[in-house]
């Protein structure tokens, strides 16, 4: 009898791991946020795998952007204020807490500056782009980009994005979306106002210049925007 018990326990001991292996996925992965958000870095890049230099060349750089900006965008995709199906599928069922955690993660990330292809625009148009970015156009009531997006165009805390290192197609698409009302922000939607005042030629000039300008080595956003801001923005409310 004891022999039977022994035999059984030996057999069971041998079988148990096999049985649990059948029931449970056995291989573990490290519990890191990097691992959890691998879905994001496939397009937006990560320090270990920067975005491919070939390919669609459309996806915006998100590393180092202010967390407040990133969380606004993630929530905008979820709520339909921005429309890009792949992004909506990503964030559709995620909570505010998780989106904030993801936004903070990418805001502290540093990626090597992308290699840019200089836009082939006539010199006059590039100059018009630079002029609009640095000084705006008072006649059109368009403020300079640097008035809000930082003197070095690397954005400002807590929620204004940097404008360098972005593909030109992406910048053009955003202006188009603001004009068509398919990219919206919390009211007042300052960028929709600005986009509505710019001609398509001016948009081309701005995107061409911005996409050709190298990202500075230190791409951290400015600690704050210069107050008062030229336009009221729901995404970056004025301090009282």
């Amino acid at each position: 009898m004891p022999a039977t018990v022994l035999r059984c326990s030996l057999l069971c001991a041998a079988l148990l791991p096999a049985l649990s292996a059948l029931a449970q996925p056995e291989r573990g992965v490290p519990d890191t946020l990097a691992r959890r958000v691998a879905a994001c870095t496939a397009c937006h890049g990560s320090p270990s795998a920067p975005p491919p230099s070939t390919g669609p060349g459309y996806y915006p750089r998100i590393a180092g952007k202010p967390a407040g900006y990133l969380v606004n965008q993630l929530q905008n995709f979820r709520a339909g204020r921005r429309q890009y199906p792949l992004m909506t599928y990503m964030v559709e069922h995620l909570s505010d807490d998780y989106l904030r955690e993801i936004a903070t993660y990418f805001s502290t990330q540093h990626l090597p500056a992308p290699v840019l292809a200089r836009a082939s625009l006539p010199a006059g148009q590039m100059e018009r782009g630079r002029e609009l970015v640095m000084h705006g156009d008072p006649a059109l009531k368009v403020p300079a980009c640097i008035a809000c997006h930082g003197q070095r165009l690397t954005g400002a805390l807590p929620a204004i994005p940097g404008l360098l290192g972005l593909p030109r197609d992406y910048i053009n698409a955003q202006f188009g979306a603001w004009r068509n009302g398919t990219r919206r922000a919390h009211a007042p939607d300052c960028m929709a106002t600005v986009a509505g005042r710019l001609s398509l030629a001016d948009v081309t000039a701005i995107s061409g210049w911005l996409a050709s300008e190298p990202l500075p080595d230190d791409a951290t956003p400015a600690p704050d925007v210069t107050h008062p801001m030229p336009l009221a923005c729901g995404s970056q409310p004025e301090r009282p």
Partner: protein, 426 residues
């Protein structure tokens, strides 16, 4: 002779009329237990809030980015678009002027306060099973929402589906009001599960095939969700959702957290878990699981299907090893974090091997995250492969996972993939 023909015809017409009268879906009035049943007491409100979650009312009665329950979400159907209504207690645009009896009439009989017949996109073929007591608690809860002035958008249905008389005919064929009748031979938990699944949960709205007139069958035998374009697996067949051979605890885990050792929810089911099922008590989720497991199993069909071509499988394997194996494992068994499911197994995963391959294709194209839930607040995500892989590559890798590690399913072709590249979200 003429007289006989005339008499026979008249008898036939009379018989048909009698049949219509007998089959006519009568309004079925059950009075409230007492005005206390729908009074705004904390207990009623809490129970109503729970039931509203169980019914996932919010999912349809809220537009993307809109105020919860203020309506406006477009439900695309083969017959046109139905817009969900505002069910906040605004007196002019919502249901603020409705009595508890009006609310019951809508939920149970599918008739609006003004007497209009409601379209069954509102699943009253299911909510008719809800008890008067639960309907009253729901009413008590909805009364506590902040009223939102948001006029209902008129439906955009094609002729003749926009005609009330056509809807009346549909109801004659497919609708009979009636509260769920417990089966005395079954346990209380089983009956509770059946009540939730067949009633408020309206699982059959997706998991039951729809006929040409949009009516669902009585069985949860699976079907492609029209327009939405995801395949809701059969819940009564082990070769699809396969609940029959799942452990009940794993079904509860899947319903309440969105992930389980044998799979994860995605597509429309991620929305259901995220908005609704994660809030159920363990007892209710367990009751649903027990009921679903008890459904008489549908035998696996013998699939003829030619084996996939060797070079497709070879290409699929190379792609799998490059893009998928790191998370799902070279052996397709998935991976976990500290014993908690991280990436679902693909081996033996019924979601991949159903005859209709749409889900597997769309998951590869779109990627995405399971829902963030109380039990899985920080889910692991899957990258979208539509920007990286072409149609032939997606077809190869999907064919590979459908035919590896013991899985068998028909091969997928590049045109199968292509049609899902550009589908609208809402």
């Amino acid at each position: 002779m003429k007289r006989i023909v005339f008499g026979a015809l008249a008898a036939l017409v009379l018989l048909a009329l009698a049949a219509v009268l007998i089959a006519w879906p009568r309004a079925d009035f059950i009075p409230a237990r007492s005005p206390q049943a729908w009074a705004g007491t904390p207990a009623n409100i809490a129970r109503g809030a729970y039931l509203a979650r169980a019914g996932d009312c919010m999912a349809c009665h809220t537009a993307r980015g809109g105020t919860p329950y203020a309506g406006g979400r477009a439900l695309a159907t083969p017959f046109g678009t139905v817009y969900a209504s505002n069910i906040t207690p605004d007196a002019t645009t919502g249901i603020g002027a409705w009595t508890a009896d009006d609310f019951w009439h809508a939920l149970h009989d599918g008739v609006s306060r003004d007497g209009r017949l409601l379209y069954p996109a509102f699943p009253y073929t299911n909510t008719t099973k809800v008890t008067r007591d639960d309907a009253d608690a729901l009413y008590a809860y909805l009364r506590t929402l902040a009223p939102v002035r948001e006029a209902n958008r008129p439906h955009a249905l094609r002729f003749p589906y926009d005609q009330q008389i056509v809807l009346a005919g549909w109801r004659l064929l497919y609708f009979k009001p009636g509260v769920y009748a417990p089966q005395p031979a079954r346990s209380a938990a089983w009956n509770r599960g059946a009540y939730l699944v067949e009633g408020l949960g309206h699982c059959g709205a997706c998991h039951s095939p729809r006929n040409g007139l949009g009516a669902t069958g009585s069985r949860l035998s699976g079907g492609r969700i029209p327009i939405v374009g995801w395949y809701a697996p059969a819940l009564d067949a082990d070769h699809e959702a396969g609940l029959g051979n799942w452990e009940e605890a794993h079904i509860v885990q899947l319903l309440r957290t969105g992930v389980a050792p044998r799979g994860a929810v995605f597509g429309p089911m991620a929305e259901v878990v995220g908005h609704s099922l994660q809030y159920l008590t363990d007892d209710d989720a367990g009751a649903m699981a027990a009921y679903l497991k008890s459904l008489p199993p549908e035998p696996s069909p013998r699939r003829p299907g030619a084996a996939p071509l060797d070079d497709v499988m070879k290409a699929g394997r190379t792609l799998y090893e490059h893009h998928c194996a790191d998370c799902h494992g070279a052996d397709g068994r998935g991976t976990s974090v500290a014993g908690h499911p991280a990436y679902p197994p693909l081996a033996g995963n019924g979601a991949l091997t159903m005859a209709d391959p749409v889900n597997a294709i769309r998951i590869v194209l779109n990627g995405g995250f399971p829902p963030a839930t109380g039990g899985n607040p920080r889910p692991f995500g899957m990258p979208p492969y539509s920007p990286v892989l072409d149609d032939a590559e997606v077809a190869a890798v999907v064919t590979y996972v459908r035919n590896s590690w013991g899985n068998t399913a028909p091969a997928v072709t590049p045109p199968d993939v292509n049609r899902w590249r550009a589908v609208p979200i809402d």
